[in-house]
Amino acid sequence: MAIYNLDEILNTYGDGYLILEFNHLFISSSLREEVWLLQRTDDDAMVKKIMHEAEEFDIHDAKGDKDFDTYSGGQKAILSCLLIIAVIRNRKINGLKLLLNNVLNSVSDDNRSKLFTKFEGIRSTHNTRLFTDKNDHIQEIL
């Protein structure tokens, strides 16, 4: 039995879903680089927006150039969610199916609740559908 099987997740869901997976949250090493990769430009406004929203989650020391490895696991999970929400808003992406794998259970109850509120916001404005892993299946949670 596999504890952690990224290949299976990608094979099963990779075509239809954008997948955030706890062990592979980012490609690069900082928020600024990650935004650059997704926006194809140095989008300082987006970086600042994410840093500002991160404060709601008691992440007061977020910085655009701060190495992801210096954040805790849960903080990284939160930042990855804020990043994808910012990109969905900025690029007006509609109807995205987002699969969170081992992400929401990496954050505390109150932070999970705050994330849900933000995801509910983009569900209403951008029809984003939110899924999470449940045993060997996924379920739609928003």
Binding site: M1, A2, I3, Y4, N5, L6, F22, N23, F57, D58, I59, H60, D61, T70, Y71, S72, G73, G74, Q75, A77, I78, N102, N105, S106, V107, S108, D109, D110, N111, R112
Partner: protein, 176 residues
């Protein structure tokens, strides 16, 4: 191994801990649950205070960290060097072998393992014959099921952010 109440500073990680109670890891059979907000230093407390203390006292331990991907690769390589082969996709068996080969350990540390297996009772089944203390970082609101609770005294430890001075987070660590 005991960690006395008092102040512990990890400036390189931007954390100051104020430990309100002694944490006694030498008295058997206890199950510590570490809970608290994200970034309040639960893993740092494990890695920079508890584990060095265990090493200093020559206490053997098993540690399953949050980044299980790297650990599984390392574990597979380690067992391979020892001539123990595990099929590519059987990671639970990999863990079972590791635990079975670690019977000199008396402390078992699990950092958010429950996100991979919400019901991880098998870990206890494999280890409770030799482990005296479990230290579990979790975001789940509940503790282990009855079978474990009967054998191990539960000690809930809460990490609370007191303030952030722009550079350091002051975190209170206390038993509940």
């Amino acid at each position: 191994m005991e960690i006395k109440k008092g102040k512990y500073s990890l400036e390189e990680r931007g954390l100051n801990f104020n430990l309100s109670d002694d944490l006694d890891f030498k008295n058997s059979e206890c199950c510590f649950y570490f809970r608290g907000g994200n970034g309040f230093g639960k893993t740092s407390f494990l890695e920079k205070i508890i584990i060095p203390g265990l090493k200093n006292d020559n206490v053997q331990y098993i540690y399953i960290g949050q980044d299980i991907r790297t650990q599984l690769y390392t574990l597979r390589a380690l067992l391979s060097v020892q001539g123990i082969k595990v099929s590519d996709n059987d990671e639970v068996e990999l863990l079972r072998l590791w635990i079975n080969h670690s019977k000199s350990a008396t402390v078992f540390i699990l950092d958010e393992f429950d996100k991979y297996f919400p019901d991880y009772g098998f870990i206890f089944d494999w280890s409770d014959s030799f482990i005296r203390t479990y230290i579990i970082v979790t975001h789940l609101g509940y503790s282990r099921p009855d079978a474990v609770a009967e054998k191990y005294r539960t000690c809930n430890v809460r990490f609370e952010l007191v303030d952030f001075d722009g550079r350091l987070k002051n975190v209170r660590v206390k038993k509940e």
